[in-house]
Subunit: 76 residues, 2 copies
Amino acid sequence: MGKGVRIQELPGLGTRYDVDLHSSSGERVSIVVSRDGKRHLYVFTAVGDDPAAVLELTEEQARKVGAVLAGTFFSD
Amino acid sequence: MGKGVRIQELPGLGTRYDVDLHSSSGERVSIVVSRDGKRHLYVFTAVGDDPAAVLELTEEQARKVGAVLAGTFFSD
């Protein structure tokens, strides 16, 4: 499962995960999981350093989005 | 878990999940899970109909991003 994900410790901050989407147009996703549980989601849609979108998610919000993406989301 | 996620069947296409981020600035995430497993991720960072970023993810890519977000990602 670890293939295609680069993990980098950010001392004092948390952990950064870069998910390679194998896109020649530079599409990729970076997620920074902070020590307090917050997630910052960076979505890149083009080659370069500037994300097209940045979202700050609480742990609960991130869990919901994650479950939908992973296909494990079930409504009550 | 279902709270804050609106689910809509898209006949013949798949299922759309809107995750409300309770943001006054319009931040939200929509995910369309297609019947073939593909996911389209729409990230909105402002009020309005235009997403700031759209990504097409394979099922495997979506599972990786989802696991990182949900906090269940472990590298090999």
